[in-house]
Every structure is written in C-alpha cells, then in structure tokens.
Symmetry: C2
C-alpha cells in the first residue's frame, strides 16, 4: 500500500485526467475502477513486462464482474508498426469487444504509444488507461496524448492525439528496470529542468544519487514534477503549434544520433543526453549561457551515467543532413530549441549558422578524443 | 462549365465545410484552390478511376506552384485494409510530405474512407478533400466524417472521425458509372426519403426515370437533397449516440445479406434495397405503416432496379444470428430502425419479437417464390 501517493490532474477540459504516482499503486483497484465504466477490458502488454506485472494488473479487476482479456505483443521498438498493431484489433474482435470497451497499456513507451493509438482508432475510438512501467514512459508519455506507430521510412509518422482516462504510476515497477534504461529516463527529467524548471534542475543536482538508487520518495518527486512541467506546456499548446516544441530540447540533435547509429544502438534518453549538451554548447556560443552553466549541465548529465558526446563516426555533414529531415524542420530549414538560461528554453530558426557548424565540428572532435 | 452549381455547407463549428454539386466541377480549379493552402498535395485514386479522371484532377492544380504527387491503390472492398492503407503513407514519406500537406480522395466510397483515414492519422492528422465519383459515395460519405478500413473479422472496425475541408461532386463523373452501381446509389437516396424526407420520396416517385437516365439536373437535385438530409442528422449527433443511428434504416437487414452472401456478391445498395423492404414490412406488421405505403416502397425500389427480396438461401435463423453481431447491436440485442410513416423513422430495441420472426420467415418464403 502506498503511504504517500501524489496525484496531479492534466487539465484539458472535458478530456482532463488524473495521474496517480506512488509506491505500490498496482495493488490499488480503488484508484483504477473509478475510471473504468467499461464491462470489457483488454490489457495489452509485451513479452518482457507481462511475466513481471500482468497478474497484478489483472488482479486490479478481480471480482469486478468485468470481462478481462489480454494481448501480449513482441517487445521492442522494431515491433512498433501497423502489422503488430493489428494484433490488438484481432484480439479485440475475437473477444467480440464493442465500442464501449476499454484498453489498458501495461509497459513502456512503445506499449503506451501503440495501445493509445489502437484505442484511438478501434471502432473509431474507445477509452484507455496507461500503466507505464519504465521511467521514460512515466515522465514522457504520461502526458501529451501523442500515440502512434512507426513507418519504415520514419518514426511516429502514423498516429493520433488521444488522451487516456487515467495514468497509474507505481514506482515499484522501476525496481525491475535495467540501470541503462533508468538513466535514459533520467535524461528526460533533466530536460524538464533545463527547459522550464531551474528548481527541478537544482533538486536533481542535490538528489541524483538517490534517484539512481531508486529511492521511492525521490522517484515520486521527480516523476510528479516532470509530469507537471510537461502538463503545463501541453495545456498551453495541445496540438504542438509552438510552445510544445520546447519539449524537443536535445531531440533534434538526439534524433540524428539515433538515426545515424540505427535505432536501438543508442537508447533515446542517451541520445537526448548528448543532444542536450550540444544544444547547451551552441547556446553558449551564441552568448546565452555561461561556461559555468555548461559545466553544471555536463556534471549532472554524466552523474546520470549518460553520454556527453555523440558517437564520433557521425560527421558534421551527416548530422546536418539528418537534422534537416527532422519532423520539426520547416521546409528543410533546421529549427532548434536552445537555452537562454538553465531553466529557460526557446525555439528558433533564426540563429548564427556558424554556431551550429562550430558545435557539430567541435563536438565531433571532442567525441573522437573520448575514444 | 457548370451553369447551375449547388452548394451546401455542413455545419460543424470550426470543422464546417462546403459541398459543391454540379456538372463539370472537375474543371473548376477556383472552387478547389480556395480550400488548399497546402504546398504539397497527394491525389489518391484507384486503378479504375485514375485512368478516367486523374489527369483532370491533377489539372485542378496546374500552375498553382504546388507539388502534386499521386498514389494509385488497387480497386475494391477487398483492398480496404491496413496493409493497402500503408501504401499511402509510403507514398507520402517517399515524397517527403510534411504535416501541412493535403490529401485528395478521388474515387468511390472505399477510396474516400481510406484516404480520409490516412489523412486522420498521417503525422497525427492532415487535411483532405473529397472528390467522390460514384453516386453512393456522393450521397453517403460526403457527409459524416466517418473514415476507416476493414479488419478480416469485421467491416469498418478500424477508423476515425475526420472531416474533409471540401467535397467536390461533379455529376459528369456518373456518366462512366455502371448501371448496377448507379442503382445501388439510388437505394441510399430512397433511404433518406423514407427516414426523414417524405417530399424527397415523392420527388423520386415523379423523377426516377430521369435519375436513372443520369439527367444532370435530376442528379444534382437528388444528391444535394440527400447530403442536406444527412447533414441535418449528423449535425444533431456527430459521434453517433442516437439520432445518427436512423441512417441505418435497412442496414441491419442489409448487412446480414452482405455477410451471408460474402462481400461483393450483392452491392451494398442492393442489400439496403431489400433491407428497407424488410424494415418496411415489419413496420407494417407492427401497425405503423399501411399496405398502401408498403406498395409505394416496393414500387419505387423496383423502379430503381433494386431487389425487393433477400437471397432465399439465407434462412431466418442465419439472419437473426448475423443481425445480433451487427455493430449497432447492444450486447447481442438487435436494435432496429423502423418506419412510423414514409418520411419518419425511429430506432428501437423494444418491439414485438414475433414481428421480426414473421418478417424473416415470410420474406424468405417470398424470396423463394421469386426464383
């Protein structure tokens, strides 16, 4: 049982929903059943998470009289496509689930994105709840309503905006998360500190070791704070016209790293770690942040066991090329999220191109020196 | 050039859009370009319609400076699935189309449903316009925003609500439509008359031959009237809670015919023709409409060259079984749209079950006698 649950509400008018965060929440049916009017519930998970938490998730509905079915997908970003998605529809139709049914996403970001998207388009839209079991999905996909799958020619190119009815975050599920994935989740938390929350950044400087040791109170604080930061940004800009683009701090550089290395080689959070350093360095070159600020960033990112440098084999020209096809690019022109200070970011397409060139060249050189 | 264009506006707040109906509208770029701010336009059609109208559709954008690409799908309901849909995404990504691009659906109902759905989920939603080239799609999918694809276990089980920015109906495109498909489209027009528009029903009694002869003025009148009737119903109930279900007059019986015969054997409109007669007969048994009303229905439906009877090989028990798995069924209980009068329909699950049994038995017997 959780002694210290935190709850925050994502405010989206009629589509508002709560996020409950705490230790042991997977044993709290009362938190879940209040949001599940459906008589038919399909729990979707993957081959890694199901053996760990599926029975607990099913037990949330024990004695409720609801029909509970399950669908277990293959695990991994390489299965995040339409053909795998169709397995969810097959399971729903074989169980004769109607348009009043509800889906439950039990797993990390891939499961959350796929199940949310399946819910968005099954019989033109049914409800779903999220039980994210990785730190990255807890601080990232809990808020924002972005769902979808990849296409072989681009990540997340097929999808919908679809908000969950509830997000249930049990910090105990992080005890089974590999260290490398924990760090990758921390990268996104650092990102919130950098882009809009200097106080969170300071808290991370004081509490990084507690976080990596999976201290429940530290985890709950960092997760709640991150979700709140993201919720504030999304509330201001649900469909990503402008403000929401700030969430891509480190991501334009990071996506180039992921694409250049081939997906799966670097974890997303690892690429974001190096990407934030590159955005920070460029922000310094432009005269926004100080050397001391950049040192604070490097210190925190390396304490999180995240890489500071991109892989040296990706040369500046290749970086530029991949950055210009990023979804955030506007007709090939690279727009970047840069830092004004630690805690304040801005989106701009109007910058000194030589600062970008110098960043790419120097960080490629630094990266080479690390080898 | 059209001398007598009709325009109606589907009122859906910020998502309102116009439907232009007239002869030769495929030669009117002025009507189209006003609704296409996009610089990248993808025209999607099929192997039957593209040879007839693709060049004309492309010419709408001649000299506009826009990038025009095309994607030609296989023709037929059997290709209305996720794998075929993915061809549209591949074409869009190969052309590097971004989220400000626009899709154009050029074809019948299958193309309209698929392209609308592709637009709903490409990069989480882009705009589209419809150029329906069959009578059925002109009077049915022009209004309502329902998009989607089939699953092997059920029709239209995967989809989204997504409204077009414009519907352009050129009645000249009907000159290449096979007679049997023209009649199938007329079935839906008769349906609007029966369910909410006694005056349209009377007009059809006076003008059926002109309609089947593809008289441009008659076509334009019947299409505009049907779209307006559907728009009024959809405006009252966009997401199909209640009123919108009236549009399924004849469809619960009709879907059972389509499923029982195997899709493609009977055209949808043909199944709806027999289905309306069955709904009408049951409405008479219940004491709503008179023998004379039923005769008027039979007369009009047979003048449209549509079947009055279901195929005799589908026995009453099989009918009942298939009707109970229809999407409109509520936990297996069959809800039906019945007639109060010609021009007034209602949805009910509260009817004398013996009237349904008698309808199925007697129409199976009538059908047998026709052979």
């Amino acid at each position: 049982m959780s002694s210290s649950m935190q709850t925050l509400k994502v405010e989206l008018g009629a589509r508002s929903y709560p996020i409950h965060i705490g230790e042991g929440l997977l044993s709290r049916p009362d938190l879940v059943l209040a949001h599940v009017p459906a008589k038919q519930v399909m729990i979707v998970s993957n081959t890694t998470v199901a053996p760990l938490y599926l029975e607990q998730a099913k037990a949330l509905f024990a004695g409720s009289g609801k029909t509970i079915a399950t669908c277990i997908l293959d695990d991994g970003e390489e299965y995040k496509h339409l053909v795998e998605l169709n397995k969810i529809f097959t399971a729903l139709l074989e169980s004769r689930f109607d348009r009043k049914c509800m889906l439950v996403a039990l797993g990390g970001g891939v499961i959350g994105d796929m199940v949310g998207f399946a819910a968005a388009i099954y019989q033109r839209g049914v409800d779903f709840i999220q039980i994210p079991t990785t730190l990255l999905s807890q601080v990232d996909s809990s808020v924002g309503g972005k769902t979808g799958v990849n296409h072989e020619l681009g990540k997340n190119m097929i999808g919908a905006f679809h908000q969950p009815k509830l997000v249930l975050i049990d910090t105990l599920t992080l005890n089974t998360l590999p260290d490398r994935e924990l760090s990758a989740g921390v990268a996104e938390i650092i990102k919130y500190g950098l882009l809009c929350d200097a106080s969170l950044f300071g808290w991370l400087e004081a509490n990084m070791e507690a976080l990596l040791a999976r201290d429940p109170a530290a985890l709950a604080y960092a997760i709640a704070r991150s979700c709140q930061d993201k919720a504030d940004i999304v509330a201001a800009d649900e469909k990503e016209a402008d403000v929401r683009a700030l969430l891509n701090l480190g991501h334009t550089f990071g996506h180039a790293i992921e694409t250049g290395m081939g997906y799966g080689e670097w974890l997303h959070g690892e690429a974001v770690g190096a990407g934030m350093m590159m955005a920070g360095y460029m922000s310094k070159l432009i005269g926004n942040i100080t050397d001391a600020d950049l040192d604070r960033m490097a210190d925190l990112i390396s304490r999180a066991h995240l890489p500071l440098y991109p892989p040296p084999q990706i040369k500046p020209a290749q970086f530029l090329d991949m950055m210009s096809v990023d979804k955030k690019a506007d007709a090939g022109h690279i727009r970047l999220v840069l830092l004004k200070t630690i805690g304040t970011a801005y989106l701009t397409g109007d910058y000194d191109a030589s600062a970008l060139d110098r960043t790419l060249a120097e960080w490629n050189a630094y990266a080479g020196e690390q080898e």
